[in-house]
Structures are given as C-alpha cells and as structure tokens.
Symmetry: C2
Subunit: 479 residues, 2 copies
C-alpha cells in the first residue's frame, strides 16, 4: 500500500457530475432491496462453503505461495514484474477466466543499487537501512557528515541553522501510518530546504525487530534533491538519546539509487462477462507490483489473489451474473497509484458503467466486512449485501471512506469499497523483508476470497446499478 497525502490533493480537482438513468437517485424501496438481496442467501452460502470447505479451500493461499515463491518481489520497472504478469495472464487463462489481457501503463523505474549507512561517532555501528523510492544516489564515495536529530518538522524549523551541511535524522513518534508517513514522504525536502545534505527517516511502524521499512518519497519542486533512506526505529531512538546527551554524531551514507527512464508495464485484467448487462462492471482489485524487499505476499499479493479468486470461485461454481465481474491487478501502485491512474485515464469515459469498484490493499487478515464510500442509498443496499456474510461474521459495513487505487473512479462518483479486516499487525511487515507468505493464513484467505466473491457477485447480479449522488464524493485517502 502506497500513501502520500500530498499526491492525493490533485485528485480532489478531478470531479465529474454526470450520471445516466441506470444509477440515478430514485426513491429507494428498502423492503424491495432487502427482498432482492436476501434472495442471494443460498448462492452466498454456496460461495462460502465452496471457499471454506469445497474445492476452493486453500486455493488462493496456494496460488499466492506458488507465485511469490517463484517470483519473489516485483518492483515496477523490473523485468521480474513483467515475467510475473506474463505468468498471471497464463494462469488466469488456464483458470478459464474470460478476456484475460494486459493493459499497458507507463511506470517509473527506480533501482536501489548497493547502499549502506554506518554510524562513525560516537561509536561505530552498522545502521540497517533501505533507500526510499525515488531517492537520488550519494556521490560514489558516499556522504560523511555530522547529524542533526529531530522529532518533528517544527523542531527542524526551530533548529534550521543547525541543519546546514548535516544529515538530518527524523525520529518522529509513531502516531498512525497516515500521520507518521509524512516524514517518509516529505522528510528529504524539508531537510533540504534547511541545507541538509541527506535525510534518514525512522521507519513508519509500531513494532520493529531492527527492520527498516522502505516506501515512496516525494521530492518537492524547487527544493534540492538529497539522498534519503529509512533506518530502524531502534537506531533513530538511539541517535535521539545520543543527541540529547550532547554527543557528536557522525554518519557515512552510501547509496547508488537511480531513477531510470520510465518503462511500459501492464495492469492485468480478467473477467466473467455479464449475461444481461455485459458492458456494466463490478471491479475487484489489488496490486501485483510490490516493493523490492520481502516477497510482496501481503502488500499486495493477498489483495491481488483474492481478487483473482473472487472470479475463480464464480467460474468454478458455473455462476454468471448479469453484469461483468472484472479483476484488475494494478501495476506500479507503490510508486503512487501509477497503474490505476493510467487505467482510469483509459476508461474514464466508461465511468458511468462502473457499478462498484473494490480494492483490497490493507492486508487479507480475518475479514470483518467492507469500508464503503458512496451515496447514502448505495450504502443502504451494501448494508443488505453485507448481511449475506453473517455466516462468516464479516457483515460489517464501515462508511468511514474508501480509496487507494480505486480512488480515481470513486472521485468521479463510482461507489467503492476496501476490504475491512483485522489488520492491526499490517504495519509490522509493510514494505519490509518480512512481507512474506508467513504473514498469510490459508483459512483466512479463503474467508477473504468468499467476502470478495459474495459482494462482487451479488452486486453484479442485482437488477439495478448502485445509485449515485448527483454530486461526486470526496476522495478519502486510506491507511
């Protein structure tokens, strides 16, 4: 999961207000909705049983294990990601999904190269680190400089005169990902504004076992670019203590990172064509790219593979909804929702035909239900749909806002939702070498797949599309 609040600002200006008669606000006969949705109880139970006890049991976990064990991590721009996409196109075709294809998207190609950070004073210590995505390199011999440690941007501003020529270490508190990630995203430019020569950011996580967490960062225009990396919580706290004691801290940082020319990648698409309204679409999604550390099993192999599985279950059960179910496995999410933006640009003229867009990119832990964004009436219908998931205790509808790769479509009024799951430990592993199959659980993935399949199939088969507001919804960034 990528999240850079600054980037999202531009989304707010992207508004579209037209909507056709198929999802106009009409008076909602909630009793009729309830009756219609309840008629899907049997098929929902069939899906759940197939996934938890039938031929679907363990399928999404095993498919994901095969995939990650074969390819490992898959950063945008890499040949390995393209090989992984080729594999998925073959596998989804073998799974007898329809219209399986890739859609080209131009993506950044950042390469980490060798990198290291060493504490030289007050004593020598290796500092485990990971360069941040889009960072420039240091000179070949590295940068050796004294260190200024701060906890906040405000403290940096107060100590601006001390930052010049230094490596700024940010030891920000963990508040939440949404709050604390600002230091990863903006730390380099804020430090550079004050004359720093590099910045090292405390990893954005509530728990660390000496584990650096990488992620994208955003150089601000008009500010010199300086090399930037994340370090461990432990080392950031240690240097904070050293600095509080008045000890002189000195670091040597070496990074070979390069932002190479953009390359073509692909969003990976598969469908089950609708029987009655084939041009209307319920979209399920996750992203296939990952960071270049770990195995990309959690972020976002899990989300991508339950999206495949949602269609796979429906196909294996010989079901076919009225509307088309489409799985899209995004590329280059980690570089700033790049693949999904290209997809939106190519398909925005069809936005009226998108009934519901779903995305799972915050873990596939025990599912609770759905975080939903859409019109009030759509929410009332979705609440009924979620009731179908009571047998697996995943019927919660949270209307706290949804977003991510589906945000582009939501921003123009398409109802959207993210998988709501018990992801309290998500950020332990996020963007680290610990993002592996060990985080995943077969039974839990079966449950998440069932949630995805029940919601997507039911909404795709209802007679009416979900009603929209005439004004568009505000896009709410997640996570």
């Amino acid at each position: 999961m990528f999240s850079t609040p600054i980037f999202l600002v531009y989304l707010f200006i992207n508004l579209l207000t037209q909507c056709d008669s198929r999802h106009l606000n009409k008076h909602l006969d909630i009793d009729a909705v309830q009756r219609e949705v309840r008629s899907y109880s049997d098929v929902a139970n069939q899906i759940i049983d197939f996934s938890l006890n039938g031929n679907g049991k363990g399928q999404s976990y095993n498919r994901l294990a095969n995939f990650t064990d074969k390819f490992g991590n898959r950063i945008a721009g890499s040949q390995n990601l393209e090989n992984a996409i080729d594999y998925m196109l073959v596998e989804m075709s073998k799974d007898k999904l329809e219209n399986v294809h890739g859609e080209v998207a131009q993506v950044p190609h950042w390469v980490r190269g060798d990198e290291s950070a060493v504490l030289l004073l007050p004593r020598k210590k290796n500092l485990p680190m990971l360069g941040l995505g889009s960072s420039i390199a240091t000179p070949p011999d590295g940068i050796e400089a004294d260190v200024l440690v701060v906890k906040t941007f405000d403290e940096l501003n107060e100590k601006a005169s001390e930052a010049k020529g230094k490596i700024v270490v940010f030891n920000q508190d963990w508040v939440s990902y949404g709050v604390s990630v600002a230091y990863r995203s903006l730390g380099a430019s804020r430090a550079a504004q004050n004359g720093a020569v590099a910045s090292l950011i405390r990893s954005v996580t509530p728990l660390s076992i000496s584990s650096p967490h990488t992620g994208w960062q955003d150089y601000q225009s008009g500010v010199p670019k300086i090399p930037t990396a994340c370090i461990t919580v432990e080392d950031a706290e240690m240097m904070w203590r050293m600095s509080q004691r008045g000890e002189k801290i000195r670091i040597r940082l070496k990074m070979e990172a390069q932002l190479l020319p953009s390359v073509n990648s692909r969003n990976t698409v598969a469908e089950i064509k609708g029987s009655k309204y084939p041009d209307e679409v319920v979209l399920v999604s996750g992203h296939l790219d990952s960071w270049d550390v770990g195995q990309g099993a959690m972020d976002d192999g899990g989300g991508a593979f339950i999206s495949w599985q949602a269609l796979s279950i429906i196909r294996q059960l010989n079901l076919r909804p009225k509307r088309t179910m489409r799985a899209v496995l995004w590329t280059a999410e980690e570089e700033g929702l790049v693949g999904s933006r290209e997809y939106y640009e190519a398909h925005k003229s069809e936005a009226d035909k998108f009934d519901l867009v779903l995305e799972s990119d915050e873990g596939v832990f025990t599912p609770d239900g759905l975080t939903f964004g859409g019109s009030k009436q759509a929410g009332q219908i979705m609440k009924q749909v979620l009731e179908l998931l009571k047998p697996i205790n995943a019927s919660k509808l949270s209307e706290s806002g949804a977003g991510g790769d589906i945000g582009y479509f939501m921003d123009v009024g398409v109802p959207g939702g993210n998988l709501l799951n018990e992801n309290q430990h998500y950020f332990y592993f996020h963007h680290t070498n610990g993002d592996t199959m060990t985080v995943q659980d077969p039974h839990v993935m079966d449950m998440c797949s069932a949630v995805w399949a029940v919601i997507a199939y039911t909404v795709a088969d209802l007679e009416e599309m979900l009603p929209r507001n005439s004004t568009t919804l505000k896009f709410v960034p997640v996570g």
Copy 2:
C-alpha cells in the same frame, strides 16, 4: 538467556546435602513470620516510592541506555565486553557500592566473521542468517549443496538416506522456546550423523520480521562438526513449501566463524555489606555479556541493571540490612552459564552462607512477582515477602521452578528465584538485532528494580535465613 537442556544434565549430579543450623528445617511459626515480614511494609513502600516517584525514577533505564549506547553488544571473549566490565566497576564504585570488584572467569571466545547464505535454486535469493555460537567455518569458498528440508528429528531419521552430502534445513514448528530450541542446540550434530555437510535452523521465535535469531549450539562428541546457522522463519517455511512441491533446492553457505582460545573475563560484583551477618548473602544477578548482535539491552542488560539498581536504591535510601546484599553480573552466560559456573566453583564452599539467589534473565517487562524454587517453608516465607509488593501488583509467587545462572547454587539447596514478568514478547527480540533499548520502558524498569530491591532487602534483613530441605532441590531449567 541461554538454554541448552543437554548441558543441564550434568547439574543434576552436583548434589550437596549438608546445611548448618542457620537454615535447618524447624517448625515454622507462620504467624510470627507474617508479623516479622509485615514490619517491612513501610520500608517496602519507601523503596517503591523512591523507585517510581523519587530520585530512583528512570535511573535504571537511563543507566542502561548510557551503557548500551556506549558499548553496544558484548560477546564473551571480546575486548568490548572487558571494556564494558571496566566501565561497570567504575560506575558502581561511583555509585558508592561496596567491595566492587571483578572475579576472573575463563570464557570461550567465538568469533563470527563474515557469513552469508544464498538460495541458488529454484531461484536466487539472499537468505538472512546468523551463524550459531561455536559453529565451525565453511571452507573459504563456502559450501554449495542441495538441500533436504525436514520439520522434525524423526523426519530426518526417516529420510536419513537423503541427507548425505546435503545441507539440512530444519523447519521445526514453534512450540515453545524450551521445546523448539532443541533444533538449534542439536540440529548440526543430528544432521551430521546422517552425513549432512551443513545445517540451517529455522529461528526459534513465535514472530519474525525476516529476523534471524542466533544462539549457542552443542556439537555432540563423536559426531563430525559441520557449519550451522539460523535462518529466518520465513525462508525456512518457503523452502519447506518448495520441497513439498518437489523442487530442487540448492544453497551456497559461507561462514568464517572461529572458536579462538579461551580468554579471561570477569564476573562483576558489588555489595552492600550486612550489618549483623556480613558473611551471609542475598545475591541478585543478571548477565552482562550478550550475543554479538543487537545491543544486549533486553538479554540481559535489563536483568543486570535492575540488579545493580536494587543495591543502588538501598544505598541511596541509607538502608543497611543485617545480611550482605550482593549483585553479581555474570559473564559468558550465552556460551552456557560459563561465568556463573566459575563463580560457583570459587564459592561453593560458602554455599551454606547463601540465603537466597535471585536472577533476572527473561526480560524486565511489567513485573508480576517471582518464580521461586526452594523448600516448602521457604516458599511460605517468600509468599509473605511478595505481599509487600501488592502496591505495584507484583506479589505473585510461582513455584514452577527457577534456574539459569543461579541453578548451580539452587542445585545444592540454596533457595532461588527468577523475576516473573509479562514477557510474552521476549522471544520476538531474543538473540536478534532487535534486542535494543526500544524494548525497554523506564517506568517498567523502575517497577522491576523496586521488586528486586524489596525482595532482596527484606530477605537479607530477616532474623533467620530461609529454611532449606535436608535433601537438595532438583534443578529445573527455565525458558
């Protein structure tokens, strides 16, 4: 904390039955004991208040942070450990403790050197690893071999014919440290018995963020020595899946590890001399050495520093118990309770004068009380002593057995106890680079210090020594 069940076997043969009149089993007047112990309520509350709210507040945490930030990790045999011991002797003298000195102990000197493991087939992947203590090196060019993955020793025996010439990977389940550590301790020799050329052990932990956990291992006599290291839970599970699919797995392992000649280290000792029975001793302890990864803040900086702090609090409060309070900070615990064995050998003739031996080596998380081993009557007295800790909710006495570095004395009948604390996450960080001050909490360390000081002071000041059984206690290994 070190634990090798095999090693402990020899302890059972070390029995001593004599005891002098000062701790003979007499009829225990529990009401009298209760009255005597209750008379310490005021002083216990004074200790607690001093530690939590007075000048003691934050002291043990700050002292430990200064120490670990200055020295980092401190493996037995290293000059850094000896420098750290010198520092402690100076600091404890400056703290006005008495009879501050080192007692020489000969310790192993194992040096890790450069090391790496790379998965070559079915695909190339770096395998984070840590050589296990006492492991031999590989040849300079490393060992490249096919892999046999097993989950249990039984499975290895069944597949004995497949092990020859291979690197055996153990992917044992996490059951508990006490159970699962057998694979770390004995995996190399079991693999070698079947003709393996090296062994890689899944790290012994319930949670991993791609974090290898080192530790001592025991070559069995009469079995060829082969290089052995721990790998991550994630990679062990991945290779297990690969092997279940019938994929050919190949690894290149390089290790430069050397066991150099033994060197002299020191157990670090400080006292508050008893006013009435100065030759009788209540001993508090933890170990000062650590593994050569992380910072040794948890294992066992915390235990060592609350032991110092227990005496420091008593000295700062100008208290002086009847018996001597002695802090011993063991050396070379991690290589198999080496420092404490040497200490026992030097002091076993005084065992009758040891009233109570305490050790903290399983974390200094929120304290619950004490795990105690001793006679029934001693337990009854200790139960009363623990009542003094009700104000901080740490009055639990668990009689499930105690041990560790104090096991040598317990084995000859000296009552002993380990700090009972909420250490559910201890093994997340144990023997990893994540063993740092980040695991510690100042307030919690103040509470643990208060527990240690209240128990040690009270027992040291009671008129009678704790009663012993006429037969000695069975030594129960911990953790």
